[in-house]
């Protein structure tokens, strides 16, 4: 047997068959190859699926028929016909969308490093129910079937649950999580669990402190959420021991949690905990670390090896998502944390050598409209944000992120869908897209987004 010769002959046989020829199958391998090619040719996506996907892509229905679908019969040569009116319309819509976003005032100047390294693979889009929005989008919501129905209608396909782990009540927390995951999953939702621990329970922030949370994360993973965000906002001392804040320390926890989660359920995505957007490091040394510093430390410590997605928060905006200037807050106008796209680039840049996407685990715009006041003086920056702006900006944020070439966003979670309570001194009523009067302008805006090109 001359293996290189046999390999050449086999490959030539396959190539001839793929070109529509019918070479003689003279060996056991070529006969099997012919059978495999014939079997492959029979595999066709069903017409309703093809038409539905074409409609989603705003294309004319193009279900391949069984008679012309075989790739292995000779194809009649056809004149290039890619300038049919439907193709022109589709292309015009795509190009028009690109031109429209490029022409927006205050367009974002990309960070030079991001541009230089801007060759990301495509953004992952949904699994499960066909995602009607440009990016897989969900929202944090309490387990209420009416709320879930409104979310589904708005195109949200994931629900979010925040869990505060405490060792003493771990079993109770898991029971609640189990019930939530089951309720959401049976309705077709994916579930993100944002798992937070207690700074008081990891006083030394050494590896041995992290075992309990890692074990808990494994038990949680076994319940079947789609993803677990591991300990967000670890750059603040309300979430991490004072004086021990750092991306390297956090990455040790992340590694333990990642290994435990994957051992329990390898299908669960591990999202690195989003640091809180902040520029207050200088004012509170040892208690706060700026998020960009924290991301850089995470990357150097190897976070990219222990995450499927990099978590990001953006909840302090008062301008449109595509803006990069114009925030009225003083004294700093160009603080990146105030603008969505620079905030994303801030998170992505340290990880540009990896293929990891970003997961915006909290996207929110605070509006006090319909409420007595903002929740406290530290939120007065949101005084002038209307509900209409909240709705418009949330809906615009989705395609804005989908169109970025320098970063890939795999998931967006709106914080929040519903209010956790009606105590207007808390922050969730102002962030909630279901407003106190029961209306949901953001839901309406997202619904319109579903039917737009």
């Amino acid at each position: 047997m001359n293996e290189p010769h046999d390999a050449d002959h086999l490959n030539e046989f396959i190539d001839d068959r793929l070109r529509g020829k019918r070479p003689a199958a003279t060996s056991t391998e070529t006969r099997f190859a012919a059978q495999l090619l014939d079997l492959s040719a029979q595999l066709q996506p069903d017409a309703p699926f093809v038409d539905a996907l074409a409609a989603r892509l705003t294309l004319p229905a193009t279900a391949p028929s069984a008679t012309n679908a075989s790739a292995h019969r000779p194809r009649p040569r056809r004149q290039p016909a890619f300038l049919t009116w439907a193709a022109v319309l589709a292309l015009a819509i795509v190009l028009g969308g690109l031109i429209l976003y490029a022409a927006q005032p205050d367009t974002v100047a990309l960070h030079p490093a991001a541009v230089q390294n801007a060759t990301p693979p495509p953004t992952p889009v949904p699994v499960g129910a066909l995602n009607p929005l440009p990016i897989l989008t969900g929202g944090y919501a309490q387990p209420d079937s009416a709320t879930f129905d409104r979310m589904w209608g708005a195109g949200l396909r994931w629900t979010g649950l925040s869990l505060d782990y405490r060792a003493a009540v771990a079993d109770t927390i898991l029971e609640q999580a189990h019930a939530y995951i089951d309720m959401a999953s049976v309705r077709g939702f994916g579930v993100l669990v944002s798992l937070r621990g207690s700074a008081a329970e990891i006083t030394t922030a050494q590896e041995e402190d992290f075992a309990a949370l890692a074990d808990f994360a494994a038990r949680l993973a076994a319940l079947g959420p789609m993803a677990i965000e591991v300990w967000p906002e670890a750059n603040l001392d309300r979430a991490w021991p004072t004086g021990k804040i750092g991306g390297a320390s956090y990455t040790v926890l992340l590694r333990r949690a990642y290994e435990a989660i994957k051992a329990a359920n390898p299908d669960v995505w591990v999202i690195s905990g989003a640091p809180a957007p902040t520029s207050a490091e200088a004012a509170f040394p040892g208690r706060v670390m700026n998020d960009d510093t924290f991301y850089a430390q995470m990357a150097r410590a190897g976070t990219g090896n222990y995450a499927d997605c990099i978590g990001v928060h953006y909840t302090q905006g008062v301008v449109a998502p595509m803006a990069s200037t114009g925030d009225p807050r003083q004294p700093i106008d160009d603080d990146a944390i105030r603008y969505l796209v620079p905030m994303l680039q801030r998170a992505a840049t340290p990880f540009r050598e990896t293929t990891l996407p970003l997961c915006v685990t909290e996207l929110g715009y605070l509006s006090p409209e319909g409420l007595p006041d903002v929740p406290g003086p530290e939120f007065e920056w949101a005084n002038d944000t209307s509900v209409e702006e909240q709705a418009t900006w949330l809906a615009d944020a989705i395609p804005t992120m989908a169109m970025l070439s320098s970063v890939r966003v795999a998931l967006v979670m709106i914080w929040r869908v519903d209010a956790l309570s009606y105590d207007y001194n808390t922050i969730s009523p102002g962030y909630a897209i279901i407003r106190p009067d029961g209306s949901c302008p953001t839901c309406d805006a997202l619904t319109r987004l579903q039917s737009s090109p």
Binding site: N11, A90, T355
Partner: protein, 181 residues
């Protein structure tokens, strides 16, 4: 393979997306089915691929075939995709195997072989299985497959030859077991 129409790649123009979709949806679906093993996940991955391709059309530089470009998108998404939480549809729900020209006995034989093939593929080394998926299901040429995998054409040919031998033996063994439990 991309023998027809004359190359979008050399024209330097972004192809009309509708034509791209019509031409390649079946091939991407077949690759997805071979990769993921169930209809629902295959449909999801196909949808993801074309949605990503639509958004990323401006990144297509025309320096390779469209089939290879789309397949590379599908491969990337298959690696990073979330998994469906719904029970997988059995392969006998794969509509693609239902054709009026086939007798029930033919259909039963086709379904059996697809299950046997996909099961046996899973037992191959990952690079062997992938070469088979790319050549047989995505219909990429040797050169396209080599470029995608970062291997030489000679290596791809040899890998395919060995992979097919192994696959054939394992499919035969599986079918014997089924026929003679």
């Amino acid at each position: 393979m991309d023998a027809h129409p004359p190359d979008y790649a050399t024209s330097g123009q972004p192809p009309a997306f509708a034509e791209l979709y019509r031409r390649y949806v079946s091939r991407i679906y077949r690759y997805a089915l071979a990769r993921l093993g169930n209809v629902e996940d295959a449909q999801d991955l196909t949808a993801q691929t074309f949605t990503a391709a639509l958004h990323g059309l401006d990144h297509y530089r025309g320096d390779g075939s469209l089939a290879a470009w789309l397949t590379s998108i599908a491969r990337n998404l298959a690696v990073s995709s979330f998994r469906s939480r719904r029970p997988s549809l059995p392969l006998d729900a794969a509509d693609g195997l239902a054709t009026s020209q086939q007798s029930p006995e033919d259909l039963a034989g086709s379904r059996l072989r697809l299950e046997a093939v996909l099961t046996a593929l899973e037992t191959l080394p990952p690079d062997h299985a992938e070469v088979i998926r790319l050549r047989f299901f995505s219909e990429l040429s040797t050169a396209e497959t080599a470029a995608l995998l970062g291997k030489s054409e000679a290596a791809v040919k040899m890998t395919l030859h060995r992979a097919l031998q192994t696959l054939r033996r394992r499919v035969a063994a599986d079918e014997q077991e089924i026929l003679q439990p």
